[in-house]
């Protein structure tokens, strides 16, 4: 992981708003930046420390609440230049403080116990947020205005492009910081504790303390991402600390690939695509996301990152072209199955919701969900697609093994 990849990452982040112009794309990019920080901070627990948390939104959410109050307090009394760019630090330290409080309880045990306690604390915090509307604003939440204070060099943080660059700058800094943390004694011992807590104790480490410190640092970054989402949306509500958020970040990190540092970055991008982009097209987006997650868990537990790395390994050996045909077959089969699946799912959604029009446009075709031909056609497509996937995946595996054998033979 040389300097080049960081420079490329920075350039991509700088250029992204020009490569994808338009207000909607900018909204997506800003959300991606926020979620990248959140997913990477989550992976400090799951991928690096072996801690499966079901309540990570507690830290980002409470960080966001503290930030929104800080921002509102500033709005009342501030006459100087806007301190907005530094506000994520407020969120970060709030996250860190709650990490110290809750982490002390959750990290006492590892494994299933940790997972259960994190879930419990998540529910507890969510309940508290609804119980104290004075501070948390109840269901409606607390809204704010990010443009308070005097602009600095004409930057008001009103336009979303300015917010994007604020998020991008923090995102980049956090990525570098979190990567650097993986290269420290604590970062390495977190891996060791994940692999074998008992052995870690017998080389002198208190595993509880390793987990605790790792969680506190992770909560700091979660708090930063919470603060950025507060600045971006100008509202913080109970949803920010909810189990839905906690589950979402788990999904994002896992889909991207928890064994790799950059996995959650990919996961965050894909996840935002599902949540923000796909939800505009179909009501069934959550179902597609769930299916996608299940398929990844079953067939690619290393996430998208692992699939990428496998291809890169092959490309370096100059054998990627040998996989082209099997991959094309598999992709074609998957597309057929997907088309069938979409036909069925969309029809079901149209019929289950009486308010929606059974008439729909799928793949440029005018279809009616009440038409049996649509059901039969979709079902057939799905069945044929699944059969074809079976066949194609065998071809892929066979060719893959053959290529691996060749490589082994070549290196021996």
């Amino acid at each position: 992981m040389g300097k080049t990849i960081w420079i490329v990452t920075a350039l991509v982040m700088l250029a992204a708003p020009w490569a994808f112009p338009g207000g909607f794309a900018l909204t997506l990019l800003t959300q991606m930046g926020t979620l990248i920080i959140f997913a990477l901070s989550y992976n400090m627990l799951l991928g690096q420390g072996g801690m499966l948390s079901f309540g990570h939104a507690v830290y980002s959410g409470l960080g966001a609440y503290i930030t929104v109050h800080a921002l509102n307090a500033i709005g009342k009394s501030w006459g100087w230049v806007t301190p907005l760019p530094l506000l994520p630090l407020v969120g970060g330290f709030a996250g860190l403080a709650f990490g110290v409080i809750f982490g002390y309880v959750t990290t006492k045990k590892a494994g299933t116990t940790f997972a259960m306690i994190s879930l419990g604390i998540g529910e507890l915090v969510y309940a508290c947020v609804l119980m104290f509307p004075g501070f948390f604003g109840g269901e409606a939440g607390i809204s704010t205005n990010r443009t308070v204070g005097q602009p600095l060099f004409g930057i008001t943080f009103g336009p979303s492009i300015q917010v994007y660059y604020l998020v991008a700058a923090w995102c980049f800094a956090c990525m570098v910081a979190m990567y650097a943390l993986t290269q420290t004694p604590l970062g390495r011992m977190a891996n060791a504790v994940r692999d074998n807590p008992e052995r870690a104790e017998f080389v002198g480490y208190d595993t509880q303390k390793v987990r605790f410190l790792q969680l506190v640092l992770s909560a700091f970054f979660a708090g930063i991402s919470g603060a950025l989402s507060c600045i971006n949306f100008e509202i913080v509500s109970a949803e920010n600390v909810s189990a839905i958020r906690s589950g979402g970040v788990l999904l994002a990190a896992f889909i991207g690939g928890i064994p790799f540092f950059f996995g959650p970055v990919i996961g965050a991008i894909v996840f935002i695509f599902f949540v923000a982009a796909l939800s505009g097209f179909t009501k069934a987006w959550l179902l597609y996301l769930g299916l996608f997650f299940c398929i990844m868990v079953l067939y690619a537990p290393g996430g998208i990152a692992s699939l990428f790395l496998m291809q890169i390994g092959l490309a370096r050996a100059g054998r990627l072209r040998r996989m082209a045909l099997p991959y094309a077959l598999a992709a074609a089969a998957a597309l057929v199955a997907l088309a069938g699946l979409i036909g069925l799912v969309e029809s079901v959604y149209r019929l289950s919701d009486v308010t929606s029009d059974p008439q729909m446009v799928l793949f440029g075709l005018e279809l009616n969900a009440k038409d049996p031909a649509v059901w039969i056609g979709s079902g057939l497509l799905l069945a044929c697609g699944l059969l074809a996937i079976r066949f194609a995946s065998r071809t892929v595996v066979a060719r893959w093994d053959a290529v691996q054998q060749e490589l082994k033979g070549a290196s021996a």
Binding site: R188, N191, A192, D195, A200, V203, G204, K209
Partner: protein, 253 residues
């Protein structure tokens, strides 16, 4: 002063008495073997000394300091390190990272998240040195879980000694090894235990009589004899209670 001293150590699991009053004194620099039939409580004794299990009664002293009831990492920090009968390493980390993890605390880096591992000269040199010693240099970048059995056993010993502990416990270091692998392991143990106090549980009598300065025989949770290899070989009680003729045979082999 003894490097390691056990005073009237008892351990019961429920009503089952596993260790029944073991007293042992091991001098600094001594290589001490603990032998005994299966189920005699040898591994349990190691687990008591290293803090894995709490004692029921008695006390344990390391370099004159009472370590009874301390937790494993506290005992490790005082200079006692152990290996395991079933290989106990960090499977997803590389061989080099395994050794580096074992060195970090001893070099004072504790829970630091402000040092860069790559720049810790002393730590990296020590890890390299141990890597060389255990003969896994060519495997440095390989995940430990993919090593062969004998290689994993060597790494197990490497992780145990890397921190520079003065008292080393090895639990059946040659278990499951072929003859050549065993010979290799014995050489390795001899090398790494130089100027250290070594306590080992071992079944292979060849290894025991080759390496040990003194031997203790543990039967049903009690030490029935302690002495030099010659004394143990000639001890009638040991012959009777333990391996009988096979001990004499092994010693002659």
């Amino acid at each position: 002063m003894s490097a390691l001293e056990l005073r009237d150590v008892h351990k019961s699991f429920g009503s089952t008495k596993i260790i029944q009053g073991v007293s042992l004194s091991i001098a600094p620099g001594e290589r001490h073997a603990i032998i005994g039939p299966n189920g005699a409580g040898k591994s349990t004794l190691f687990n008591l000394v290293s803090g894995r299990f709490p004692l029921t009664q008695g006390s344990i002293h390391l370099n004159g300091e009472d370590i009874t009831g301390l937790r494993p990492f506290e005992i490790n920090r005082k200079g006692l390190s152990r290996s395991f009968q079933v290989t106990n390493i960090f499977h997803n980390l590389t061989v080099f990272e395994n050794l580096r993890c074992a060195v970090l605390w001893a070099h004072g880096y504790k829970y630091s998240f402000w040092h860069r591992l790559a720049k810790l000269g002393g730590v990296n040199r020590r890890a390299e040195e141990v890597l060389q010693k255990i003969g896994l240099r060519s495997r440095a970048g390989v995940p430990a879980g993919t090593l062969s059995y004998a290689e994993q056993r060597a790494l197990e010993i490497g992780v145990t000694i890397a921190g520079g502990a003065t008292v080393i416990l090895l639990d059946e270091p040659t278990a499951g090894m072929s003859r050549t692998e065993t010979a290799h392991a014995v050489e390795l143990i001899r090398q790494v235990s130089q100027d250290k106090t070594l306590v080992m549980v071992e079944h292979d009598m060849g290894v025991v009589f080759d390496l040990a300065d003194r031997i203790s025989v543990l039967v049903y949770g009690e030490v029935i004899a302690t002495g030099t290899p010659a004394e143990i070989r000639g001890n009638a009680a040991v012959q009777e209670a333990y391996l009988g003729t096979s001990l004499a045979q092994a010693a002659h082999a």
